[in-house]
């Protein structure tokens, strides 16, 4: 059985059931509550599901991930110290724009594993940068009031004093 996914631009993607099952929204649309009760629902092969918030390029990228994980469980536990597989990190890359689009789409489509991977991808880009570097990267203007800056200086000074008392 296969399901047709329709992107924001109207492009159609024909995906197999194991791949579509990775997408929570599609799974719920295609099978509804009966899926969780264990009944196989006979759906029409020509069934199409419109994903109005996902562009074609992002949907095709997401389907690559779903295809890869159709037979495996992705990492979904952010608490653990488990590292993401090499394939995942190569897949998500370092392009901030694209990762953000994948993140939004994964949230919209309810794909927890991909959502965690996208968060990890963005965190890797931000990791190790000082506040000024993050501002430059994201085009953020520091909007702290004078009082907030004083408070932060005091807090950071307190912390620095703890680490280096001399």
């Amino acid at each position: 059985m296969s399901i047709t996914l329709i992107s924001k631009e109207g492009a159609q993607f024909l995906v197999s059931k194991p791949v579509a099952d990775r997408i929570g929204v599609v799974r719920d649309c295609a099978y509804g509550a009966d899926f969780w009760l264990g009944y196989a629902v006979a759906t029409d092969d020509s069934m199409g599901i419109t994903l109005a918030n996902v562009t074609s390029s992002i949907l095709s990228k997401i389907l690559v991930w779903c295809e890869h994980y159709k037979d495996m469980e992705p990492l979904v536990d952010g608490d653990s110290n488990m590292e993401f597989p090499e394939w995942d990190m190569a897949y998500i890359g370092h392009d901030m724009n694209q990762i953000l689009f994948v993140l939004e789409a994964a949230d919209y489509l309810h794909i927890p594993g991909l959502l965690l991977l996208a968060c990890k991808g963005i965190a890797d880009v931000l990791d190790g940068r000082n506040p000024r570097g993050i501002c430059d990267l994201l085009g953020i203007v520091m909007d702290f009031s004078h009082r907030q800056e004083v408070d932060m200086d005091k807090e950071n000074g307190y912390w620095r004093w703890f680490l280096h008392p001399t």
Partner: protein, 533 residues
């Protein structure tokens, strides 16, 4: 084009939950740094509801490395929500809490919660008067002191529990300084006429500073000395190892042709896919190529090999094995599954190995007063005194491979990724929270698929008798040992020679760890009573 070439600020249009999820993937130093970027960053990071600190803190606590320097100063930062300290106080190393951490001022409920999540219920007696903060710090100092010295002045008498084969339990005491559970258990074996059998040691569950150990002997199934309560303690009623579910589902297919989805195993194969080098097979059907031919994705079902695990919704074939045929009505497989699915209570009546539980029997009754019997009165010298028990003693008995026609038996028996753990909604018992076990036992009393939960001798079998066809016989002794988290890894050989490093283990602790035993233990005798049976 990368983001560095085209600056943008899309983070402030994201929902704050997603923003907090991104921040929670940072490490502690980067998170502290990010808190000074802008007021949006700071408000999300300081939010007690979004709490992006939780995951970085847990990653630090669960890592085997020394804590980073910024971790010890979290208490001095106002942007760290205070309730994170429950987790820290429950999971951090004692010496770090006592010697390095800057612990902020916390409400009394947080100290109580941290105390209950860290230590056995029997240790609540140390609170006495005073508040929970004092009780927590006093207990932490006592345990740390005992771990680093041979001092037993805090607890001169060490209590332990003995489960008798007549259904009763004895709450015994021994002099802490010379307490040797192997020597004591040898005396119990002598009294029970089981001296010829080898002592088996099992790790029941391990907490951060304490681990609970059971000592017993295994005998053949027709023995008159079989102790059903001992088996019930190690194998909670209705719980099989998680991988056993495959067998159960295999049996279930005899009743239902199609079963709902189950999670497939993570494939151990090495991934060699390079996203940049391979073409994306997912190209829109309506997006025509240059030649006007619509592109379709290759059908993936045919491309997957036969060795792949079945995907979601794929009907399972009937896998009739010899074991399944032989014991179809013996309380395993579909019957146990049905007990789990439709029973009103956890302790379903279908189990054929029910112990001495009876609804007519009243709850635990405290018997006569304790009679102190120091260990030095025993004359039998411990056979393994002064040595670490070899893994063969502490590990389950080796069981010969079962010749089975079922392909489901070929599933992994080794370490399984923690991410493959079944969600808590599928667990038969709620995982123990007070106290909280180490991650290797996080599903306790259910099976934890990390390869370290060795209460089950063999995973993936439908063996009616555990431990290679043998059963626990005679008394079973349950003791609590103080351990340092860095020196006592779950899965390693159990070292029972720690002089003076034994904590009191009472029936209160037993029933907190194994609440199903409360209705199976017919009587609790404080002291030796008329002897151990």
């Amino acid at each position: 084009m990368t983001a560095t070439e085209q600056p943008l600020c899309p983070l402030d249009i994201l929902p704050v939950e997603l923003f907090a999820s991104i921040l929670s993937e940072l490490d502690l130093a980067s998170l502290i740094s990010a808190s000074t970027v802008s007021s949006l960053f700071r408000s999300v990071i300081a939010s007690p509801l979004l709490n992006p600190w939780r995951q970085p803190i847990r990653r630090v606590l669960l890592a085997d490395e020394p804590y980073p320097p910024e971790f010890s100063q979290l208490g001095a930062r106002l942007i760290v929500p205070r309730h994170n300290w429950i987790e820290i106080l429950a999971l951090a190393r004692l010496e770090w809490i006592l010697l390095s951490a800057t612990v902020p001022s916390l409400p009394e409920q947080m100290w109580e919660e941290a105390f209950n999540r860290r230590w056995l219920p029997g240790m609540r007696k140390w609170k006495k008067l005073g508040n929970w903060q004092e009780a927590y710090k006093r207990t932490a100092m006592r345990i740390w002191h005992r771990l680093n010295s041979s001092c037993t002045s805090d607890e001169s008498w060490c209590r332990y529990v003995v489960l008798n084969r007549n259904g009763s339990a004895n709450l015994c005491e021994a002099y802490s300084r010379t307490f040797n559970p192997l020597a004591v258990f040898d005396e119990f074996k002598l009294q029970a006429n089981l001296m010829h059998l080898e002592t088996q040691v099992r790790l029941v569950v391990q907490f951060l500073d304490i681990r609970v150990i059971a000592l017993g002997v295994l005998h053949h199934s027709s023995s008159l000395f079989v102790n059903s309560n001992a088996r019930q303690l190690l194998h909670p009623p209705g719980v099989q190892s998680w991988i056993d579910d495959t067998d159960t589902i295999s049996d279930a297919t005899e009743a239902f042709d199609i079963v709902p989805s189950i999670s497939s195993q993570r494939s151990p194969q090495v991934v060699t896919f390079a996203p940049q080098s391979l073409p994306n097979p997912y190209t829109p059907v309506l997006l025509q190529t240059a030649g006007g031919v619509p592109l379709h994705r290759a059908e993936s079902n045919e491309s997957t090999g036969s060795n792949h695990a079945p995907g979601r919704g794929v009907p399972f074939r009937r896998t009739m094995s010899n074991e399944a045929n032989g014991r179809a009505a013996a309380g395993n497989g579909i019957f146990r599954r049905l007990t789990v699915s439709f029973g009103d209570r956890i302790f379903g009546g279908v189990s054929n190995d029910a112990g001495p539980s009876s609804p007519t029997i009243p709850g635990p009754v405290l018997g006569r007063s304790a009679s102190h019997q120091p260990v030095h009165s025993f004359s039998t010298a411990p056979r393994t005194n002064g040595h670490t028990l070899p893994p063969s003693t502490s590990a389950p008995l080796a069981v010969p491979a079962i010749a089975s026609s079922s392909s489901t038996y070929s599933t992994t028996n080794g370490p399984v990724s923690p991410s493959l753990a079944p969600p808590s909604g599928e667990l038969l018992y709620p995982p123990l929270k007070y106290p909280t076990p180490v991650p290797e036992h996080r599903n306790y009393p259910n099976y934890t698929p990390s390869g370290s939960d060795n209460r089950w001798s063999r995973k993936g079998t439908l063996w009616e008798l555990d431990e290679g066809g043998m059963l626990w016989a005679g008394p079973m002794m349950i003791v609590a040992q103080l351990v340092h988290p860095d020196n006592a890894r779950v899965g390693e050989a159990l070292d029972l020679t720690g002089q003076g490093r034994w904590a009191a283990f009472t029936t209160q602790d037993l029933f907190a760890l194994a609440p199903w035993m409360e209705e199976r233990v017919t009587k609790v005798v404080d002291g030796m009573g008329l002897g151990v049976f």
